[in-house]
């Protein structure tokens, strides 16, 4: 058996974890005041749990639900995914594995004339259009409920509540991120539990700080409550999508939540340009991946 698929899956998993865990870490730091080893422990636990418990629900996307690729075509898709994710991680920008994977499997199909399920593709894209709305509304509801709850508490209790919530929400976010996004890699040849999980854990430990530094404070100045509500709404939206086997982006759902809250709670300090770049980035990632995969396929 060729080692290339194993290396590609493992490397993609590593880069994905390095890139995407930064989003969760940003929110965690906003609430707890610092990054800690405990954060890494919880994020990794969430990644492992999510992948084992629900990761299988997304394996179909790359293994027949949208298009049936042979081993060679699947390698082209994986090379595309790895290249695009690596470039954006190197640029310290969050990139969505779900957007990139869909583009990467459509590229070879388009270039080599392989038939694909256009309805399924449209279904996924429609879901991506709908996700910011779901996440934004949910964030506002959660934020209002949270404010009602804490308004009766002492400030000391609010602080303890935020700290404990941040830990629980870190677990929830890394769980859903892993179930939805890492699960996608299961559809590729060479994938397996350890081949995906070990590099992902290494990615969190070694590189997750790189993306966090640029993303964190550029988007919006939200309160601790706001960050928590956005993270829960984004994670819950992603979890819902996982139940319908729809790949989605945690970055985009969380940022949608932040955007909704920034508009809802005034006065607000929002970098709308950065926010729109992040929420509206899915067509860009999709197109870039299609183009890269298409070009490689023609070569």
């Amino acid at each position: 058996m060729s080692l290339l698929p194993l290396i590609l899956v493992g490397a993609t998993s590593f880069v994905f974890a390095a890139n995407n865990i930064g989003m969760i870490k940003t929110s965690f730091q906003s609430v707890t005041g610092r990054g800690q080893w405990i954060y890494l422990f919880i994020a990794i636990s969430g990644l492992v749990l999510g992948f084992i418990v629900e990761g299988y629900k997304l394996r179909g996307l790359a293994s027949g639900d949208v298009v049936s690729l042979n081993a060679y075509e699947a390698e082209i898709a994986m090379i595309t995914v790895l290249s695009v994710m690596s470039v954006f991680t190197f640029l310290r920008l969050p990139a969505s594995l779900s957007n990139v994977v869909l583009g990467a499997i459509l590229g070879p199909a388009m270039a080599l004339g392989i038939s694909y399920d256009a309805y399924r593709v449209l279904y996924v894209i429609a879901a991506w259009l709908f996700a910011p709305l779901t996440s934004g509304l949910l964030a506002i509801l959660l934020y209002s409920a949270y404010r009602r709850i804490v308004s009766r508490m002492a400030l000391t209790s609010v602080s303890i509540f935020n700290r404990v919530s941040a830990l629980a929400i870190t677990l929830l976010s890394s769980y859903t991120l892993s179930a939805n996004n890492l699960g996608l890699l299961l559809g590729f040849p060479g994938s397996g539990l350890l081949i995906i999980l070990i590099p992902a854990i290494l990615g969190v430990l070694l590189l997750s700080n790189t993306v966090v530094s640029t993303l964190g404070w550029r988007m919006a100045m939200l309160s601790q409550t706001g960050y928590l509500a956005a993270l829960v709404s984004g994670s819950f939206t992603l979890w819902l999508y996982t139940q319908f086997s729809i790949p989605a982006s945690l970055t985009q759902t969380v940022v949608s939540g932040m955007m909704a809250l920034s508009i809802y709670s005034r006065p607000s300090i929002v970098n709308y340009r950065t926010m729109f770049e992040l929420v509206g980035s899915w067509p860009f990632f999709l197109l870039v991946s299609i183009m890269v995969a298409y070009s490689i396929s023609l070569l």
Partner: protein, 221 residues
């Protein structure tokens, strides 16, 4: 127990709140003694007045130690995340109360004032110092409110502001009066400096109250 050291759980917030409360109590104990010094000087009990100053001095030193400890805890712990900077400012203002009490007491002690110079102003000075004490006392209740409810904090901060305004009004009356009384210029300057420094007690209490407003705004929204 390691879980507590990592800051997942545990009541680190409670520990910091208790430190702030002790700090405020010491600042209050120091400011309450100012009235005593005025009364002792007015009744020619100079040595006792000096002893009062020594007590204020030691209370201020104790407050300094608590201040250092609180700042250290806030800067190294994970408690009150996102509010640490504001709590450090709060501790700084509380420390300012104790410092001002000590500075004003020292102004009275450095040069011997004659009872005849203090007696004409004694009643109003006592009223003024009572307002300063009340401002600190209300602040202390507001700090306690951090462990109770948002409403408690806000209502006591409002009281602090009210007492500070009252202290300001009395201060202006005393200054007007002071400049009309015939006494050695040095005594006038000494009493004027005392009034300004004692007024800082109420001013620092009010500033601390403003920080409590910020804490409430940041913590609950």
């Amino acid at each position: 127990m390691k879980i507590f050291r990592l800051g997942i759980s545990g009541n680190g917030e409670g520990v910091i709140l208790n430190q702030l409360l002790s700090h405020t109590e010491l600042a209050m104990k120091a400011s309450v003694r100012l009235k005593g010094i005025i009364e002792l000087i007015a009744s020619s009990r100079w040595d006792e007045a000096r002893k009062e100053y020594d007590i204020i001095d030691s209370l201020e030193s104790e407050a300094d130690e608590i201040h250092r400890d609180t700042v250290e805890k806030l800067s190294t712990g994970v408690f009150f995340a996102g509010l640490g900077g504001d709590l450090m400012n709060l501790a700084e203002k509380i420390d300012g109360i104790a410092d001002s009490a000590k500075d004003s007491a020292r102004t009275l002690i450095f040069r011997r004032l004659e009872p005849s110079e203090v007696i004409p102003l004694k009643d109003e000075l006592c009223t003024f110092l009572s307002s300063c004490e009340d401002a600190v006392s209300s602040l202390s209740e507001a700090v306690k409110g951090i462990g109770k409810s948002r409403e408690t904090v806000i209502s006591h901060v409002k009281e602090t502001e009210m007492h500070e305004e009252s202290a300001d009004e009395t201060k202006n009356r005393i200054l007007e009066r002071l400049y009309q009384i015939q006494m050695p210029v040095l005594s006038t300057i000494q009493l004027r400096d005392f009034i300004f420094q004692a007024d800082n007690v109420a001013d620092f209490a009010e500033d601390a109250g403003d920080i409590l407003y910020i804490l409430v705004a940041k913590g609950y929204y």
